[in-house]
């Protein structure tokens, strides 16, 4: 350890009941250095960082900050040592303003001088190139604005060591670029930064060193300049994995959904979809690309019957009689059955299934405080006959999912809230797939997932496609959409601005379509 070391961890261990989240982890970060912390979901990254920021207390091990051994008992201890963490799930009070959140808990007594705080916040923003309005309420903010508030909050407290837990998982590529520019400014300012991200290209772009964890154990640290994504992946997973995504051709390729002139309003009464038309084929993965909030959510919900349709049609065609999934579901009266006007249960019975992973992951589809069995049952309880619920089938299903999808959990009766983010998503997507749908709609299924889990999900989607399912995939990562999908529908401001063949389209082409009608509006 030399004089330039900002943080040193030695043999840090932390257990949660039977789970050993961190097993004798040692780590060092220098001043003016960006360290990327890499590891699969559930490998203990968040836990380790939470011990630096005072949320958890280590069972064993030592911590040095600026060469001095310290004990961090609470978040207050941490920020007095100049450590600030931007948590994966933001820690902000929704009903307060940005400025109020920023000064929260600071020692000054008496009246709150809003003007002075606003001035100081603006000064920090200018120094590092942020853009925030100190008087805006948090609940009116976008995810990236909230993140900015979190970062300013940490800087306002004079942090010299910044920890960012998956900061880019919810950002658009442009927002990520902005964030990285800020991080580089901070690094130039002599601050130490630890960043957790699953996106290897980001690791390569921003970090100086990479530390890898696997299943709670420390694997090693490498200099970014001397490594590459493939090597990092191998280190993280423990065995060689291939980073190419398959795109097989399905046996049956038949029309499944036909959306015609669909118009919807969002929950705030603003037009969310305007005259949307496209088709989805069985045996195909149809990507839906667009800047966040372009109507993706409303579109999927309209198809699932959860969103009121103002006008337009959604026609459903049953699968090819010889395909694997034929006959699994309630037959429709005719080919081209209208789904608009049916209720969600009816639509689900026909075989249309929706797995939506919201920004906070737990917001939709799973009940956080219930265990896996109960969450499986939410979907299946109607099928059991008689007055009592059947717990055996969902339990078997839960156990099967744990095994097949390598879900890390102490057992089927642990509340899903306690699972790490990626594992929660596997539960959600796995459950939808288990209902053997004919149309599988999923939004952001790999949001925040590590490479290995992401590939598990891609494999699952491909399997469904090969069975003849029409897969609709709303995604954020254009590279992945272009590699995985057969066709891509591009949404912009609630309109379809193009349908491209993913085998031939380029990223630029899709990117342009994604921003097209926004341009038009600006002209008008």
């Amino acid at each position: 350890m030399d004089a330039n070391t900002a943080i040193r961890l030695k043999d840090i261990t932390k257990t949660f009941g039977p789970v050993v989240a961190n097993d004798k982890i040692s780590l060092e970060v220098d001043r003016g250095e960006i360290l990327a912390l890499l590891g699969e979901n559930g490998s203990g990254k968040t836990t380790l960082m939470n011990m630096l920021s005072g949320i958890y207390f280590p069972d064993a091990g030592q911590i040095w900050v600026d060469g001095r051994e310290v004990t961090i008992r609470s978040p207050r201890d941490a920020f007095e040592l100049g450590i600030g963490m931007i948590h994966q799930h933001f820690k902000l009070v929704d009903v307060l303003t940005a400025a109020e959140n920023i000064v929260l808990g600071l020692d000054q007594k008496g009246r709150l001088d809003r003007k002075k705080v606003a001035r100081e916040v603006r000064a920090i923003s200018e120094k590092y190139g942020f853009d925030i309005d100190p008087d805006q309420k948090i609940y009116n903010m976008s995810v990236s604005q909230k993140q900015t508030v979190e970062i300013v909050k940490v800087l306002y407290r004079g942090a010299n060591i910044l920890i960012l837990d998956e900061p880019t998982a919810v950002l658009t590529p442009q927002e990520t670029e902005k964030l990285f520019a800020v991080l580089r400014n901070m690094k130039a300012d002599g601050k130490s930064i630890i960043i957790i991200t699953h996106k290897l290209n980001e690791v390569m772009a921003i970090s100086d060193k990479v530390a890898v964890l696997r299943k709670g154990k420390y694997i090693g640290t490498v200099n970014t300049a001397e490594t590459n994504p493939q090597a990092l992946t191998d280190m993280m997973v423990g065995h060689a994995v291939t980073l190419d995504i398959d795109r097989p051709m399905a046996k049956y390729h038949d029309l499944r959904l036909e959306v015609k002139g669909l118009n919807c309003r969002g929950s705030d009464g603003v037009k969310a979809l305007t005259d949307v038309s496209f088709t989805a084929m069985g045996g195909e993965i149809l990507g839906i690309a667009g800047v966040a909030g372009s109507g993706q959510k409303e579109l999927l919900e309209a198809i699932a019957g959860l969103q009121k349709v103002e006008s337009g049609h959604i026609f459903y065609y049953p699968p090819h009689p010889k395909s694997d999934i034929a006959g699994n579901h309630v037959p429709v009266d005719k080919a081209g059955e209208e789904l608009v006007g049916k209720n969600p249960t009816q639509i689900q019975k026909i075989g249309v299934s929706l797995a939506f992973v919201p920004e906070d992951r737990l917001g939709m589809g799973l009940v956080a405080s219930m265990d896996m069995v109960d969450n499986m049952m939410l979907k299946t309880y109607k099928e059991s006959k008689g007055p009592l619920v059947d717990r055996k089938t969902p339990r078997a299903l839960a156990e099967k999912l744990i095994e097949e999808l390598e879900i890390v959990t102490p057992g089927v009766s642990t509340p899903v809230r306690k699972l790490s983010g990626g594992n929660v998503q596997k539960v959600l997507v796995g459950r939808e797939i288990a209902s053997s749908p004919t149309v599988l709609m999923t939004a952001y299924p790999v949001r925040g997932l590590d490479i290995n889990s992401s590939y598990t999900i891609y494999r699952l989607l491909n399997e469904q496609k090969m069975k003849g399912v029409a897969v609709l995939l709303v995604g954020e990562d254009l590279d992945v959409l272009l590699e995985l999908c057969d066709r891509i529908v591009v949404l912009c401001g609630g309109r379809v601005t193009g349908v491209v063949d993913a085998r031939t389209a380029t990223k630029d082409q899709v990117g342009l379509l994604m921003t097209q009608s926004a341009g038009k509006e600006a002209e008008a």
């Binding site: 949320i55 009070v93 000064v103 808990g105 809230r417």
Partner: protein
């Protein structure tokens, strides 16, 4: 005209105990603790305050009204705060269910106060725990001189000191929650304890303090009920005297959407409804008048849940226990 004036005065007098209960509960709920023990704490405050004055009067030959009032208030606050402390230990430290604990506190407080009130009464020659006129008058007289002014005197200056104390408390609480740093910290504890904790706020301390001080304020409401003679009897222990006012205060917190300023208005409205029978003849049975406050509560509950303004929502983590390492 005179009748309207009397109605307003009676409404203010009837609304004041509700105001104390509401303010105490607002403070408590702002810390994320839903304490349904308001009724119980009012009982505890009422009986302890009365007992304090009662014993003081017994002990000295020439009781001083100011001392008697102070003793009553201190006893009321301490006893009710003690109830809140029990609640705090159970819900904050031991993380027991808040609803169950609050209900238990109400049951406990009611039984404790009725028992104590009657037990002490049994030792008195009159068979009642009653304070003398010195204390009673101190709790029931308006502002000298000013109250004799025509109209405004009665309208503004004829109330006992606790009415003004309640109004002052509402203003102070509004300032505290809206403008002070400690108030900001407290609100964040109620909204998101994890956030507050990560920001370095002592969540446990804030919860304890807000709940106990809030309980103490509720206790003053109970004291007011016991001491006020507007309804004919004052300064004497009456079996079951709080009689549901604590529950109305809990509803008023929602009516006021957690705002002390609106609590003033709400208490006045509910106070008016509860005395309406005596001033507005509608030719309907008395029992129907008695249910007006409850009907109003129901209507308000419905209206508030339909009006969905973000600032008017309950503190987000209301009713939930917090443990740092839990997720």
């Amino acid at each position: 005209m005179d009748k309207v004036l009397s109605f307003v005065v009676a409404a203010v007098l009837a609304g004041t105990p509700l105001l104390f209960g509401t303010l105490g509960e607002i403070l408590t709920e702002k810390s994320g603790n839903l304490n349904l023990g308001v009724e119980g704490m009012m009982f505890m405050g009422g009986v302890a305050g009365l007992a304090g004055s009662y014993y003081y009067e017994q002990a000295v030959s020439n009781p001083n009204p100011v001392v008697s009032v102070l003793i009553a208030m201190v006893c009321a606050i301490l006893c009710a705060a003690f109830g809140a402390l029990i609640y705090s230990v159970l819900t904050i430290t031991l993380r027991a269910n808040q609803n169950v604990t609050g209900l238990a506190l109400t049951i406990f407080g009611t039984g404790f106060a009725n028992f104590l009130g009657e037990a002490i009464g049994n030792t008195a020659p009159s068979r009642y725990m009653a304070v003398g006129n010195v204390t009673k008058d101190a709790f029931n007289s308006g502002i000298p001189v000013l109250q004799d002014l025509p109209v405004v005197g009665k309208l503004l200056f004829s109330y006992n000191f606790m009415v003004y104390l309640g109004i002052l408390l509402a203003i102070v609480l509004a300032w505290f929650l809206g403008r002070s740093r400690a108030g900001l910290n407290l609100r964040s504890v109620g909204e998101s304890p994890a956030t507050a904790d990560a920001a370095g706020i002592n969540v446990t301390l804030y919860k304890y303090l807000a709940t106990c001080v809030g309980g103490g304020i509720c206790g003053l409401g109970g004291l007011y009920i016991v001491m006020n003679s507007a309804n004919g009897v004052g300064g004497v222990w009456v079996h079951n005297c709080v009689n549901g006012k604590g529950w109305i205060a809990v509803a008023l917190v929602i009516f006021a959407t957690w705002s002390p300023a609106r609590a003033l208005l709400g208490s006045l409205v509910f106070g008016a409804l509860s005395v309406m029978r005596l001033y507005v003849a509608l030719g309907i049975p008395a029992q129907i008048y008695d249910i007006f406050p409850y009907i109003a509560t129901v209507i308000v509950l419905v209206a508030v849940s339909m009006r969905r303004k973000r600032e008017n929502q309950p503190p987000q983590s209301l009713g939930l226990a917090y443990f740092r390492e839990e997720r």
